[in-house]
Symmetry: C2
C-alpha cells in the first residue's frame, strides 16, 4: 500500500489537517506513508470497534462518517462525538487496555490504517509526529469540552444550534461544506443521542429553528440563514489553535 503511488497521502484529509498544525516536508509524508498498513472499508451501520475489545490501531478517516458512543444498561446511548473525514478512529480507544467506547459507521467509511506501535516508533524518530498527536488529542478534548457545555448547561435549542455550527465548521475545514450550506450526514436519532435529547424533542427544536428563520433545510441539506444569530444563540465561538512551533 505504501507504494501504490508516490504521493499516496496527498489527497488525504488527515494530512490536510496535519499540515494546518505543523510544517511537513515531502520526506515526512513519505515516513507517514511507510507505516500505513493499508486501507479499510466499513459499510454503513457496521460496528468497527466494540466496547471492551482490545484494539491497537490508528485509522485516519479518508471518507465517510461514524459515531463514537457508549451504550448504557437501560438502553440509552450517548454519542461522544461524530467522526468526520480527517479524524482518527482509535483515539482514545487504542490507548487503553481495552476499548472503552464503541464506534459505528453511519455512512460507508474508508480509512488508512496503521498500528499504534508503528506510529509511536515514528514519533521517536520524528518528534513532530508526537507533537501532532498531542495537538490532535488536545483538539479532541476541546471538542468534548464544548460538548459537555452543550448537554450540561445549554438549552435544547442552543445545543442544536451549537452542534450545527460546529459540524459546519469541521466539515468546511475538510472541504465538505460550502460557505453557509452543508449536507447533514446524520439522522435525527443520531443527533438526539449526541445532544442528550429525545428524538421527538430534537425534532421540535429543529422545527423551531426553521420557524425562527435561522436555518432552512430540505432533505438533509442545511442552510444557515442567519449565522450570526445562530452563533449568539449557541454561545458559539470559533477556536483558533496555535501551530506547533518549529525547532529553534
Amino acid at each position: 500500500m505504501a507504494a501504490t503511488s508516490r504521493n499516496a497521502l496527498d489527497q488525504h484529509p488527515f494530512v490536510a489537517r496535519l499540515q494546518h498544525l505543523v510544517d511537513l516536508k515531502p520526506a515526512d509524508l513519505k515516513n507517514l506513508d511507510d507505516i500505513i498498513d493499508g486501507e479499510v472499508v466499513i459499510r454503513k451501520r457496521r460496528d468497527l470497534i466494540g466496547d471492551g475489545y482490545e484494539y491497537r490501531k490508528l485509522c485516519f478517516v479518508k471518507d465517510g462518517y461514524a459515531v463514537r458512543y457508549k451504550l448504557l444498561r437501560n438502553g440509552k446511548r450517548q454519542i461522544l462525538n461524530v467522526i468526520l473525514p480527517g479524524d482518527i478512529v482509535g483515539l482514545p480507544g487504542s490507548f487503553y487496555e481495552r476499548a472503552i467506547y464503541a464506534v459505528a459507521a453511519t455512512a460507508d467509511l474508508r480509512m488508512s490504517v496503521c498500528s499504534l506501535d508503528a506510529y509511536i516508533h515514528l514519533c521517536h524518530r520524528h518528534p513532530q509526529f508526537a507533537l501532532a498527536l498531542a495537538w490532535i488529542a488536545v483538539q479532541e478534548a476541546t471538542t468534548y469540552a464544548e460538548h459537555i457545555i452543550d448537554v450540561g448547561r445549554r438549552t435544547p435549542a442552543e445545543r442544536l444550534s451549537h452542534f450545527l455550527l460546529e459540524l459546519h465548521a469541521r466539515l468546511r475545514a475538510v472541504g465538505r461544506a460550502e460557505e453557509a450550506r452543508f449536507t447533514l450526514p446524520f439522522s435525527q436519532e443520531v443527533i438526539a443521542d449526541v445532544l442528550g435529547l429525545s428524538v421527538p424533542h430534537l425534532n421540535r427544536m429543529m422545527q423551531w429553528l426553521r420557524k425562527e428563520k435561522l436555518i432552512a433545510d430540505s432533505d438533509r441539506v442545511i442552510e444557515l440563514l442567519d449565522a450570526d444569530a445562530l452563533q449568539t444563540l449557541a454561545h458559539y465561538q470559533p477556536q483558533e489553535m496555535i501551530t506547533i512551533p518549529r525547532l529553534a
Copy 2:
C-alpha cells in the same frame, strides 16, 4: 528554581503520574526540572486564567484544587473538570490563540510553571515528553468523555455516584485518598456545576445516597459504604491506560 535541590521534582505528583506512563531516568527529570521557571501560588477563590486571555504556559499542580469552567450569558456556569494535584493547568488553554475556558482555584494552589515553548523545545530533543503530553491529553479527553455521558444520559443519582467514584480514584492515584474514604475538596455548588444540576437537586441526590447507605459523610469526609453498588449504579468502570512503548 531549577537548582533549589538536586531532586526538586521527586515529590511532585505530576512526576509520579508521568512515571506511570513512561520510564523516566534521572537525567530526564533533570531535563524537565531545567525548564521549570518557578513556583506559583494562587489563593483560594482567585481566577488564574481568564476566559479570552492569551496564555502560553503549562502549570503542573503540586498541591491544591481548582476548576476549569465556562460562564454563559445567562449566568449559568458549566465546570468542565476539576483540577487535582498532578494535573496540568494550561491544557487546553495554552494551545489556542486565546484561552477558551477560565480556571479558578477552589483551594490554595501551588504549581510549577514552565512556558509552553520551553516544553515543546524539550519535546523535540526528547520525544518521550511529547508522547507523555499526548498521553495526558488523551487521558483528559477520556475524562471529558465520561463527563459527557454523565450529563447526557445518566440520571442525577448516577451522575453523582460516578463523580464521587472517579474523584476517589483520581485522588487515590496521587495519594490523597484512603481505600474507601476521602475528603471532598469541593462545595455542593461546585459539584452541581460539574454535573449540570441545580444546587437543591444535587443536595437531594446526596441525601438519597446517604439514605440508601451507599455513602456516609460528615463535614466533607466521604465514606464509600458500598463501592460495588455505587459502581453498578454509576456504570463506572476503571480505565487502565497502556504505558508508552519504549523504543525498540
